[in-house]
């Protein structure tokens, strides 16, 4: 394999010399021009949780393991891993070729230091909540790491595939420079970051998984997605991340452009607040569930781009949502439930939503408002700036909330924050019962895949029936690209990691 020199010209010259056979590898463009509408908010992989930050940091940092397009766990820094029989010990073998961008090898000591940093409350890493079962970490040699767990914890492996569990150099931790400099072991180096304007990434020649398909990536922040489409039409942008289905659905109409759409784990949901009257009553919540036509919300707000879903959005575990409670709209039943709860005349409530987050929020709220009006519920819509919304949401200060909540590859990691008795976000969910809690605990320690599926299936069925929230639909993650961009593989987590292998044909 001949390394590209970084100059388009030499690539072409070389291709001309060695002939047609090398064209597919050699004629790649030096740089991939990319655009997105929201920029990363910071560089500390342990602290940043925003979607846009993760998308950038995944190109620079690596976790121990990664999820592939089927959400199977595959090697990243670790070559192999193994749970002990009681699921209380997890051992990783590191890839001896793994190297940080400062030239140092990735060692067991770095892994240990990274996880200790995440667990240290002074760091302020939100992902810490997923790793609380780690009792101690052993490093028998430079390429072996053993995690001792205080209790069986199967989902912890999936949690380790997140870039929030990225391995950073122990030296950088000691120097206190994590978040100021980005030194990872991933496919690209971050050469320049001008927040809310642009990023310049160059290929990491030492990347253990290398070589990369392009010599660099230049990311421009174009805040209006309509402008991103315009820039793609004018061939200024090779590859773009899109959020708004209204814009994304225009892409296929362009002959030179291609739209990649991939169902994602995140779910659109109407969160009821069961601590607020009259949503305290089961029958009222169920009535709301029956009165909402989820398909219609999807068809109108997202132009049908997505799929109606129950609480479980992970393909391997998901069940047929039409079997769940009231997933077929039934206004008569809803009215009856309302009457039984003593609210035959309906009631008034306020639904909050974040402006543009997701872009479909206001539209979803309006469709739901019109559907609930049919059973006498008068909804007031209050759209708020994202942070104002988050503040109200975290305080549980709402009657109902339109949300797009992130999904995880493991249902326990995804939902323990809401639907367990000790969940950190119980004050947001405001509903828990013994069935939910015990099913979650059961699923956490279960190692047999079939048993796990059954357990979580039961969990999903019960959750839909007690209706603290009304799960609506999952949508797609969209990327748009010029047709000469090859090799991008979208995944349900929304990661852009496969840009590492993308090539641009001339």
């Amino acid at each position: 394999m001949v390394y590209r020199t970084g100059r388009l010209l030499s690539g072409i010259a070389l291709a001309a010399m060695v002939g047609i056979a090398t064209v597919s590898t050699q004629a790649s463009a030096a740089t991939l021009h990319m655009a997105w509408s929201q920029d990363a908010t910071g560089l500390d992989p342990h602290k940043q949780t925003a979607f846009s930050s993760l998308r950038l940091l995944e190109l620079v940092y690596e976790p121990l393991v990664r999820l592939d397009a089927q959400l199977q766990i595959v090697p990243a820094i670790a070559d192999s891993w193994q749970f002990s029989k009681d699921a209380k010990e997890l051992t990783f073998k590191l890839n001896p070729k793994a190297k940080f961008q400062n030239g140092a090898a990735v060692t067991a000591a770095d892994v240990k230091a990274s996880f200790e940093r995440i667990l240290d409350e002074k760091t302020g890493a939100a992902a810490r909540a997923n790793f609380l079962s780690i009792a101690s970490i052993d490093t028998p040699d430079t390429t072996t790491v053993v995690f001792h767990l205080s209790q069986p914890d199967v989902p912890i492996l999936t949690a380790m595939s997140d870039v929030n569990a990225a391995i950073v150099p122990a030296s950088e931790i000691a120097a206190g420079s994590i978040g100021i400099k980005a030194v990872g072991s991933g496919p690209f180096k971050l050469d320049k970051w001008d927040p809310n304007a642009k990023e310049v990434l160059s290929a990491n020649k030492d990347w253990a998984g290398g070589p990369t398909g392009v010599d660099g990536i230049e990311i421009s922040v174009l805040p209006d997605e309509a402008s991103i489409l315009a820039a793609m039409r004018a061939k200024q942008v090779d590859f773009a991340l899109l959020n708004d289905p209204l814009v994304a659905t225009l892409v296929p109409k362009e002959p030179t452009l291609q739209l990649n759409r991939e169902p994602v784990l995140a779910y659109h949901v109407l969160q009821l607040n069961p601590s607020r009257k009259p949503m305290t009553e089961l029958k009222v919540r169920q009535a709301i569930s029956c009165a909402i036509d989820r398909q219609e919300v999807l068809d109108t707000a997202s132009l049908g781009e997505g799929k109606v879903t129950g609480p479980l959005t992970i393909p391997a575990l998901a069940t047929d949502p039409s079997a769940l409670f009231c997933y077929k709209r039934d206004v008569e039943k809803a009215k009856k439930l309302m009457a039984e709860a003593g609210h035959a005349d309906g009631f008034s409530a306020t639904v909050i939503g974040a402006t543009g987050e997701p872009p479909t929020a206001a539209a979803e709220a309006q469709v739901i408002q019109s559907q609930l009006a049919e059973i006498g519920i008068k909804l007031d819509i209050k759209m708020m700036e994202l942070n104002v919304y988050v503040d109200a949401w975290l305080k549980g200060d709402f009657d109902m909330a339109i949300a797009l909540n992130g999904g995880r590859a493991d249902p326990y990691t995804m939902y323990n924050r809401y639907w367990t008795k000790a969940g950190n976000l119980q004050k947001v969910a405001n509903y828990i019962d013994d069935t939910l809690d015990s099913l979650m605990q059961k699923g956490r320690v279960e190692t047999d895949p079939a048993e796990r599926k059954a357990t979580f299936g039961e969990f999903e069925k019960h959750l839909a029936e007690v209706s603290p929230w009304i799960w609506l639909y999952t949508s797609y993650s969209y990327t748009a690209q010029q047709k000469n961009v090859e090799g991008f593989v979208p995944t349900p987590t929304g990661t852009l990691f496969s840009l590492a292998k993308v090539t641009v044909k001339q």
Binding site: A226, D299, T300, P359, I381, K382, M384, V388
Partner: protein, 279 residues
């Protein structure tokens, strides 16, 4: 009545008056519910329907009738524009007169506070007000009103100061008129012209600012309609459903045209210096 006749005998006043009158009529029809369809009813089977006999201006993403929403939206936009300009011009006139009349110390205090507001970037001021108070019709009114208050204060204070110094006010004073009388009669009369021009300009601005706030998601709350909200909602559907942008866009343009023409006419009629014979 004399005023109305004067406006209608003025060339551009006639057109402007007719436009504004038409809008007011449309707004009233929208408010009493005389629209072709229910502006909130979602005919979801007819989503994004092009203009037709049933839907004169097409339907939006939800299958709501654009023509009906436009009629209601005109009312909503006019309410925001009128109230915010009323707020700003009233507050500005009172503050400006107070500053000019009370002189030195109060003048200093009022004008420095206005300087603070004026120096503060307008859209940020509106943004912060909306973020603190939560979005909604009244917040928009107050936000736009506060943003324009300093402009009115300045516009009133300047002429008020020079008028205060002019002979005829002194004369009135020597003839024993009360302060109250002097202020209302002479000052206000002489301020009517610059104020009227500013009011019509500000109405146009207010309509546009409301659109800008809606663009940033801070204006009128759905499912209510305002011209600005309809316009900013339309931008992502510009290619799929151009009628969603064209009709509210035209509606905003023509209404502002009407305000401006009317303003020009009023200025001609009221301005004591340029009082030309209405030709």
């Amino acid at each position: 009545m004399r005023m109305v006749r004067a406006v209608f005998s003025h060339g551009s006043g006639r057109i402007g008056g007719a436009i504004v009158g038409f809008y007011l009529l449309v707004a009233v029809l929208g408010m009493v519910g005389l629209t072709p369809h229910d502006p909130l009813a979602q005919f979801r089977i007819d989503r994004l329907h092009a203009p037709s006999a049933a839907y004169w201006m097409g339907t939006d993403l939800f299958g709501r009738d654009v023509a009906s929403r436009l009629m209601v939206g005109v009312g909503q936009s006019f309410i925001v524009a009128f109230l915010s300009v009323a707020f700003a011009s009233l507050a500005g006139t009172v503050l400006g007169l107070a500053a000019a009349w009370l002189g030195r110390r109060w003048d200093g205090i009022v004008m420095r506070v206005m300087d603070v507001l004026l120096a503060f970037p307008a859209i940020l001021l509106a943004l912060l007000i909306v973020a603190v108070a939560g979005p909604g019709t009244w917040t928009s009114v107050v936000a736009i009103g506060i943003v324009y208050t300093p402009i009115f204060t300045r516009i009133v204070r300047g002429p008020a100061l020079s008028l205060k110094a002019r002979e005829f006010v002194d004369a009135a004073r020597t003839f024993g008129s009360s302060t109250h009388y002097i202020v209302t009669r002479h000052l206000l009369l002489n301020l009517v012209a610059p104020l009227t021009v500013q009011v019509t300009l500000a109405l146009a601005w207010a309509l546009l600012t409301e659109a800008g706030l809606s663009f940033l998601g801070l204006g009128t709350q759905p499912p209510a309609a305002s011209l600005g909200l309809m316009l900013s909602d339309s931008r992502k559907l510009m290619e799929t459903a151009p009628w969603l942008m064209i009709f509210p866009g035209l509606a905003i343009m023509i209404s502002i045209l009407g305000f401006n023409l009317l303003g020009d006419a009023l200025r001609d009629i009221l301005d004591p210096r340029t009082r030309r014979s209405p030709a």
